[in-house]
Symmetry: C2
Subunit: 69 residues, 2 copies
Amino acid sequence: MVKNKIQELRKARKVTQQELADALNVTRQTIISLENGRYNASLTLAHKAAQFFSTTIEELFIFEDEENI
Amino acid sequence: MVKNKIQELRKARKVTQQELADALNVTRQTIISLENGRYNASLTLAHKAAQFFSTTIEELFIFEDEENI
DNA sequence: AAAATATGTAAAGCACGCTTGACATTAAAT
DNA sequence: ATTTAATGTCAAGCGTGCTTTACATATTTT
């Protein structure tokens, strides 16, 4: 399972789940499930989210299988 | 649809589709479909592929919706 | 305290990433 | 020339990302 920093960044920027959902063109349910680790984002959604937070996919998502530097 | 440089990099390194498939733990069919643009990679597969080619997802995949710099 | 906003759960359904298997075509090796 | 390796097509099926709807529980606002 891939973890992510979406909730952390969203709260830091004082954005609601609904606002983020609208910005990424998904439903609020999708944001909830992503933040709570119920499933992985698609590549496209991951990219949109990274763009929204002005970061990269590699920084926004945490891939645990590998050695974390 | 998201494009990618997988075939380009694979050939540059003289790796066969089967070898790449084995390295990424997917089937050869998945590699063929990715290279020929039949569908998008999952986030996990995109990450594995980026690692395999020692690059980042943002460099390996081309997201066309946005303004490309 | 009451109303409104924000976050969460649950469940059914569709779309698509990926697998499996079987076969066709082209290029390389002997 | 024949075999072997590499790339490709087609089709059926499974798992899961994402949607939709409906309701429950905070938290904030007035």
